[in-house]
């Protein structure tokens, strides 16, 4: 079952990378297609993150705090790992605080 999923993921991802390099020789000139492909990753990641980030932890308050931490670190361009770690630490701290009070 899981092997099937992995096979599907791997084949789709590989075909996307392989087919253009093997089949196409000419550069894309269509502005709309170029622009569309440029924007796709941002749109995908945005839709995947919000609103789902708010239900990712055991409490909405810790999730909101973690989101704010990630946004602040990202604005300062501290990198993926720093943003991820600070969000995790914030969530952990807020949940600990909620258990204590």
């Amino acid at each position: 079952m899981i092997i099937k999923y992995i096979f599907v993921m791997a084949i789709v991802t590989y075909l996307i990378r392989m087919l253009p390099m093997v089949l196409f020789k000419k550069r894309i000139e269509n502005t709309f297609v170029k622009s569309f492909l440029y924007y796709v990753p941002f749109a995908v990641l945005g839709a995947m993150t919000i609103p789902y980030i708010f239900s990712s932890t055991s409490s909405i308050y810790s999730a909101i705090a973690g989101t704010i931490a990630a946004i602040i670190l990202s604005f300062k361009e501290k990198g993926l790992l720093a943003s991820a770690i600070s969000a995790c630490v914030t969530v952990y701290a807020v949940e600990w605080f909620l258990r204590v009070i």
């Binding site: 993921m9 390099m21 492909l37 990753p41």
Partner: protein, 238 residues
């Protein structure tokens, strides 16, 4: 690009790949932890990294596996998330020298990632197969090794830490999209449209029956199409 010169040294590629590999280690470490966190085994997590070699696609993939998504949803999600590789592959195919034959194209295209593409396309001349194999080596090893260590480490983590870690993937997505959005108003607009649609689908009765995988595809296609129509790529400072 008509120059006769090309870079085709395995050693130079290998060295250029080291910083990419170090960066990959930390991301794949997180992936390994996430994968085990969603219930996958250590060998399964490693297998995903060794066969996919893509960050956002793998994260979304384990999310879909955990959600029990259909294969169609898996195919469409991977297609949408990884569509950018098609453009990179196409662009890179213009930069290949005469050492590239059909077989090498089959192998080297597997290693096209955002960062490998960025380094390869920043070379001042054409690139050869030896350079590309060298460039891919350390990132591939770093990606697999980081996944293994992260996955193995996760199994000894307490539950309280695992809860905190479940936000890591989303924090990383935020870290990927915010820096470009700061510099580019069109990118910010696309993200706002996509996020608004995502919330609309999630919280509107009936629309919230749409599965997570398809919701992402709908949001991404609509937002990226609107962006491409209103802000063609010449407007975007790459």
């Amino acid at each position: 690009m008509e120059t006769e010169k090309s870079i085709n040294s395995y050693k130079k590629g290998f060295i250029d790949g080291i910083p990419i590999g170090l960066g990959y280690f930390s991301v794949s470490f997180t992936f390994g932890m996430m994968a085990v966190n969603t219930g996958l085994t250590v060998p399964t997590a490693l297998l995903i990294s060794m066969t996919n070699l893509t960050s956002a696609g793998q994260f979304a993939g384990i999310g879909l596996i955990a959600a029990g998504a259909t294969y169609i949803e898996m195919i469409l999600t991977q297609l949408v998330i990884n569509l950018r590789y098609a453009l990179m592959s196409l662009s890179l195919s213009q930069k290949t020298d005469r050492t590239f034959n059909f077989l090498h194209r089959l192998f080297i295209s597997f290693g096209i990632t955002d960062e490998i593409f960025a380094v390869a396309s920043s070379q001042p001349c054409e690139v050869g197969i030896r350079y590309m194999y060298g460039l891919i080596t350390i990132p591939y090893v770093g990606w697999a090794f980081g996944t293994f260590i992260g996955a193995a480490f996760c199994t000894i983590l307490p539950d309280t830490l695992r809860s905190a870690l479940s936000i890591a993937i989303y924090a990383m997505f935020i870290a990927i999209i915010i820096p470009p959005a700061k510099k580019s108003r069109p990118v910010l607009n696309v993200i706002i449209i996509s996020v608004a649609l995502s919330c609309l689908i999630r919280y509107t009765p009936l629309l919230n029956k749409i599965s997570g995988g398809f919701a992402i595809i709908i949001c991404a296609f609509v937002a990226a199409a609107i962006g491409a129509k209103i802000h063609p790529v010449e407007d975007v400072k790459k």
